[in-house]
Point group: C5
C-alpha cells in the first residue's frame, strides 16, 4: 500500500516535516540501510588494511590510488542523470496510477442507464460489473507478481467468484494465441445490446455512453499492460544503476582518510574514522535512486507499491453495491433547508 | 486562502516587484524566519565556543573541522534535487487546483436542461446541486484538516443543511466498507432519470449531457482523493528535506570564520561576525524548499493553501442561485445598440 | 500588444537574428537599461570611494571585502532557479493565452445551427454573441488593469453597448455575494432553449452542441480567472527575485577592480574601470528575470502583454458579423476549376 | 522540406550514425560554417596583431586582457539557458506541426456522410473540401513568407483555382477589419446545412460530426495563427542570442594562445595556432542555437522548415480525390482468405 | 521486441537490480562494447607511441598536448545536452508507441454495433477489420525497414491475404501522387454506411461511433507517419552525436597517463596502464547516447525496437476473432456467487 503522509504535512512547519523524517515504512532509512551497511563494511576493511596491514611503500601506493579515485569522482555525472531518470520514472508511475481502473464511473452509468429491479435486470447489471473486474484481474495477473500469486490459474479466478465455470469455458474456447483481455468486455457489450433490445435501456444514447464508459475502463487497463509491455529501455536503467554503483565503489577508495603531504586535496588534518560526508552523500544519492527503483514497477511488493489485490476486492464490492443494492435506495425528494 | 499579488505585478517595473518583496502573508520571510533564527543561534554558540572557550590546540582541531566541513558542502547536490522536486510538487499542486470542483458548469447545465418552475422542478434542480456539494464535502473531509474540523461527523453535515436526516440514513444504509463518495452522485443520476420520465427533460441528449457533466465534477473530486491516496513517494520527500537540512547543519561548522593560515580557503582576512552569505543562501534554499512544503498538501492550513471551506459555501450558494433564483430572471430580448 | 518578430526570422541567418537584437519595443534593452544604469551608478560610487576617499588601511579592508564577496557569488544558484522558474511562468503564460477566448468557434456554430433571417432570429443570434463578449468583459475587468480602467463600472459596460439597461438590472438583481460571471451564459442558454422550442434549431443535437461550445468558451475564461485567483506561490516569486537582486548587490562589491597582491583571484593586472563582464552578466540574468516578470501577469500594461481591450472589440465585431451580416452572404454553388 | 534521416538510423550502429554526420542539407555544418569562418577570420587578425604588430609592453596588456577574458567566460550560463530555450522552441515547433492541418480526416467524413453521386452532391462535397484548403491558404499567407510569395493577393488565390470570382467577391463583401479566416468555414457549414435539408445527409448526428470535424481543422489552423500572433517573448530570444554571441566575442580574446608566465591558466606550453577546442565549442553551441533559430519560425525558408506550399497542393489533390473520384471506387464484398 | 525486465524489478532490492545489470539482450554492454573496444585500441596505440616511440623532446610535446586536451574536456557540455536530448527522444518514442494502433477497440465496437451472423454480416465485419490492418501495413511499410522487407510490394500484401486482387486493383485505380493510406479507411466507412442502410446497424449513433473509432485508429497511425515525416531536426541530432564523439576523441589524448612535473593536473603518481575512469565515463555517456540512438527510430531492427511485424499479425488475428468467432460465444446469464 502506498504510504500516506499527507495529513502530517497539512502545515509547513519544522516539526511536521521532522516527523515525516522519522517514519520507517517505505522510508529512506528502510530502503537505504542495508546497502549502506555493506558499503561501510567494505570501507572499514579497506581502511584497516591501509592503517595496519600495509608497509610504508605500500601505503604510498594506496595513497596515490586514493588521490586518483578522489579526483575522478568528479567525472561521474550523477546528479543530472538521476534527475532526468527519476523525472521519467515518476511520470510513468503517476500515469500508471491514473489508469489503474476505478469501477465507480462505469458502474454508476450502468446503474443509471439500465433500468429494472427484476431478477434479469439485476443479473445484467451485476454481470457487467463483474466482467469489468474480471478484465482487471486478468491484466493484473500479467503485470503484478502479487496478483499472480493470488490467482495463479483461471481456476483460482473461478474459485474467487470472479468468473463462473461456463464463463471460464467460453473464455478458453476463444481461439487466440494472444492475450484475451477483450473477451469479458465483449460479453458486457453484448449484454448491453441485449438490454437495449429488451427495452431496459431507454435510448440509443445510453448504449453509446455505456460502450464508451466501459471502453474507457478497458483502455486504461490496456495502457497499464502497455507500460508493462514496453518498459523504460533497459539501457537507460542500466546506465543509471551502474553510474550510482560505480560512484560509490570509487568512493570506497577516494574517500579514505590518508596521511600524506603529497596529495593536498585528500590530506586531512585530523584523523577521521567515519566518512560522515560520504555517508550523507550515500543516503542522498542511493535514496534518490531508490525512488526510481520502487516506482519502476509499482505493481510489485515494495512498501510503496499499489495494493493491487485490494483494488480488485474493492472494485468488486463497490461495483456490485452500486448496481444492485444501492439502486433501490433513494432518499425522498424534499425541500432543502435553504429553500426560500 | 491563496495570496494574490497578480495585480501588483501588472507592469514589470523595479518598484512593483520590490513591493512584492515586502509582503508578509504567505511570504518567504514569514516561512523562513523561525528556522533562520534557530540556525543563527546555533551558529553563534559554536562561534563563541571557538573564540572564547577553546584552548589553542582545541582551536586547531576546530579549524580543521571547519575546513573539512567547508570543503564537503560542495558534495551535496542541493540545487538540482530541489529544482526537480519543486517542479514535481508544483505540477501536482496545480492539477489539484484544476480538479477542485467548480459547481458553475454542472449547475448551468442543470438549469438549462431541466425545465419547470413548479415546486417539484425546483426541488429536483436544487437537490442535484446540493448532492454535488455534498460529494465535495465528503471528499474534502477526508483530505483536508480544516474541513474535517468543520464537519467532524455526518451529523455536522446534516446540521449545516448539506444533507437531510433521510439522506444521512440512506447513506449509512448503503452497506460498504469503502468510501461512499459515489452515493449522492447516484441519487442525482436517479433524479435526472426521473425528470426525463416526467418529461421535464426534453431529450435523451440532455440526459447524456447531464450525466457527463455531473460525472466530470465527480471525476475531478475523485482525482483529488487519488492525489491524497497516493502522495509523492515518501522516500523522495525525505531525501529532499534531509538534503537541505544536512547542508545547513554542515554549514554550521563549515561557514565559521576562523583565523588560520593552514586552510587557505576558509581563512578570512577580516573578522566577520555575521555569516551574511550563508544567511542569504539559507533564505534561498530553505525558501525554495518551503514552496514545496506548502504545496505538498494544499488542503492544509498554510497561508497559501486553498480555502476549501470557502469553496463549499461558495459552491452551495452559487449552485442554488443558478438553478433556482436565476432561472426566472431573463432579460427581455431586444435589439442591441450595434443593430444596423 | 505582443511584439511579433516571427517574419523577421523566416530564415535562420546571422543578419536576420541580428536585426532581432536591434529592436527596442518589448526588448531586452528597454527592460534592462534602467536597472543597469542604477547598478552602474552605485558601482561607480563605490569604485570612486575606494580609489579616492579611502586611506591605505581602509583600502585593505575594502579589498578583503571585495575578495570575500567575489568568492561567495559562486554560492548563489542563479542559473538553475531562474531556469526552472521561467519554465513554469512561460507554461502558465501560454496556457493563459490559449484560454483567452476567441469568439469565432461559438459564433460559427450559432450561425449554422440557429436558422432564420427574420428579426427575432437575428436578435437571438446577436444577443448570444454579445452575452459571451459580456462574460469576457466581466472577467477581464477583474484580472486586467487595462480593462478595469476602460470599464470601471457596470455602467461603462452599458455605455459601451455590451449590455442593455435591462440586462444590467437583471444582473444586479441576481442575489449572490460571489462573482456572477455565469449569469450572461445562462441567458444565452435560455435563448438557445427558446430557439429550439420555436423550431429555429432543428435538432436536439444542435442544442447539445451549442451548450457545449458556449460552455467551452466560458470554461476557458474561467480558467483565466483561476490563474488570477491562484498565482504562482508568493514564496517562489520572492525567492527568485531576491536571488537575482542579492547576486548583483554582492557583485557591487565583488566585481570591483582592486590593486592587491593578497587576493590572487580578484587582482587584475590592468586597471579596468568598466566592469564589462558583470554588465554582460547583468543583461543576461536580469533580462531572463524580466521574461518571467513580464509574463507573470500577461494582462497588465507591459509591452509584451496581451492587448485585452483589442480582444473585446475584435470579438464583438467578428462575432456579430458572423452571426448576422455574413449569414446571408453565401457564394453560389458552382463547379470548381478542377472539375473533371 | 524537413530533412528525413529516420531510415538511416533504423539500427543504432556506429556507421549508421556516422552517415548521419556527413549529411549536408539542413545539417550542422551548413548552418554553422559561415559564422565559424567569420569568427576564425577575426580570431586570426587578433592573433596576428599580437604576434607581429605589438610592442612588448603592448603584448603584456594584451596578455592581461586575454587572461581576464579567459576567466570570465565561465560566468556566462550558456548551457542551461540554451537547454531551456531549445526545449521551449522544440515543443512549440512540434505542436505547430501537429496543427498544420491534414485534409484526410474531414474529407473522409464528408465523403461518408454526404451521399449522392449526382452533380450537385459532387459539387457540395468538392466545395467543402476546397473551402477548407482555402482557409488553410488564407492563414498560411499570413504566417509564411513562402506562401505569401506564391499568393501575394486574393487574385492569385483565384487564379490558382482555390476560389472563384464570386467567392472572392463575397469574401471581400464581408465587412470586417479583422482577419476573415472564418468566412469559408461558414460557407462550408451552410453547405452542410443545405445538404441536410435536401436529405443528402441522413441524420442530425452526421451534421454534428461534420461541423465538429471541420471545426477541428479550423481550430488547428487557428492555433497556428496564434503561435504566429504571440511568439516567444522577444526578451527571451534576445537574451539567448546575445548570450551565445557575447560568449564567442569574449572567446576571441580569451582563447588566444599567449606566451606569458604571469597568467598560469592561459599560458600554453606549446604554441598552437588553431584554436581547436574553441572551434569545437563553437560548433556545439552555435549549432544548438541554430536548432532554435530554424524552428522558431518553421514556416520560413530554412532547409528544415515545413514545405507549406506542398501542403496546400497535397491537401487540395487528396481532398478532392477522397470526396469525388474515390467515392465510386469500392471493391466488391468478398470472403477474405482467412475465412473459416 | 522490446526487452521486458519489469517482473525482475518487482521489489526494489540490491539483488534484483544487480540481475538487471547482467542482462545482455538490448543491454548497455551489448550496445557499448564495440565502440569501447575501438576506443581502447586507439588509446593503447597512442599510449605505446608515447612510451616507446618518442624521444624525450617529443615526449614533452606529447605531454603538453595531453595537458591541453585534459583541460579542455571541461568545456564540452556533455551532460546537459544529453539530458535534454534524451528527454526529447524518449517522449517522442513513447508517444509513438501509444499511437502504434491496437485493433482491440475498433473491433469490439464493430462486433457490438454491426449485428447479424449471416454470411454478409460476417463479411462486412471481417472486411472492416482487415481494412484497418491493411492501413496499418501500408503505413508500417513506409516507416519501418523490417515491414518493408516483409512486404516489399503491394503484391506481397495481397499474397499475405491482407488485400484481395480486386482491392489491390481498386487501390491502384485511385489516381493520386500522394500516399493513399486513407483508401481502405474509406472502404470501411462505406461498408458501415451500407450496413446501416440494410438495418444491420440499429441507430445513427452507432454509425457515428464506428466512424469515430475507426478514425481514431487511422489518426494514431497518421501520427506515426508524421513522426517519420518530421524527425527531430537533423542539426540537433548531429550536435549531440558530435559532442559525445569529440569528447572521447579528445579524451584519447587528455586521459593519457604521462610522467611529468610540468603539468600538475595530469601527472599521476603511479603508472596506470588502464584508463579505468575514462572507461567508466565512456560506458555512461555512450550508453546514455545509445538510449537516444535506439529510440530515435523505434521501427528499426535494434533489440529494443517495436516488433512491428508481430503487431500486424496480432492485430489481424485478434481483430478477426473479435468480430467473427467470438460473437457467437456468449456465456449464459446466471447469478454470480455473491448474489444476495
Amino acid at each position: 500500500m502506498t504510504v500516506r503522509y499527507t495529513l502530517d504535512v497539512s502545515t509547513s512547519s519544522f516539526t511536521s516535516f521532522t516527523k515525516v523524517l522519522f517514519r520507517w515504512r517505505a522510508s529512506l532509512w528502510k530502503s537505504v540501510f542495508q546497502d549502506l551497511l555493506c558499503w561501510l563494511l567494505l570501507y572499514s576493511i579497506l581502511s584497516c588494511v591501509y592503517r595496519f596491514a600495509l608497509a610504508d611503500w605500500q601505503q604510498e601506493i594506496f595513497e596515490d590510488a586514493v588521490a586518483f579515485a578522489y579526483k575522478y569522482t568528479d567525472f561521474i555525472p550523477l546528479t543530472f542523470m538521476l534527475g532526468f531518470y527519476v523525472s521519467l520514472v515518476v511520470n510513468r508511475w503517476w500515469d500508471m496510477f491514473l489508469n489503474i481502473g476505478w469501477i465507480d464511473n462505469p458502474s454508476l452509468y450502468v446503474s443509471a442507464y439500465i433500468e429494472g429491479t427484476d431478477k434479469k435486470g439485476r443479473m445484467i447489471r451485476r454481470n457487467i460489473v463483474r466482467y469489468l473486474v474480471l478484465v482487471q484481474a486478468l491484466i493484473f495477473r500479467d503485470i503484478s507478481v502479487t496478483v499472480r500469486k493470488r490467482f495463479p490459474t483461471l481456476d483460482s479466478l473461478e474459485a474467487a467468484g470472479l468468473m463462473s465455470v461456463e464463463e471460464k469455458k467460453t473464455l478458453l474456447d476463444v481461439d487466440s494465441p494472444n492475450a484475451k483481455y477483450w473477451v469479458p468486455v465483449q460479453w458486457a457489450y453484448f449484454l448491453i445490446r441485449e438490454a437495449r433490445q429488451e427495452g431496459r435501456i431507454k435510448s440509443d444514447h445510453a448504449v453509446q455512453e455505456l460502450f464508451d464508459k466501459l471502453g474507457e475502463f478497458r483502455a486504461g487497463l490496456g495502457k497499464l499492460a502497455c507500460y508493462d509491455f514496453v518498459p523504460i529501455p533497459l539501457v537507460y536503467t542500466q546506465v543509471v544503476i551502474l553510474t550510482v554503483r560505480c560512484y560509490f565503489i570509487i568512493c570506497l577508495m577516494g574517500r579514505q582518510y590518508v596521511h600524506t603531504t603529497r596529495h593536498i586535496n585528500v590530506n586531512s588534518m585530523v584523523d577521521y574514522y567515519i566518512p560522515m560526508m560520504t555517508i550523507i552523500q550515500f543516503v542522498f544519492y542511493v535514496g534518490w535512486l531508490k525512488v526510481a527503483e520502487a516506482l519502476l514497477n509499482p505493481f510489485g511488493e515494495d512498501d510503496d507499491d499499489f495494493e493491487v489485490n485490494w483494488f480488485l476486492d474493492r472494485n468488486l464490492q463497490v461495483g456490485l453495491t452500486v448496481v444492485d443494492d444501492a439502486v433501490t435506495k433513494q432518499p425522498p425528494l424534499k425541500k432543502d433547508v435553504f429553500w426560500a
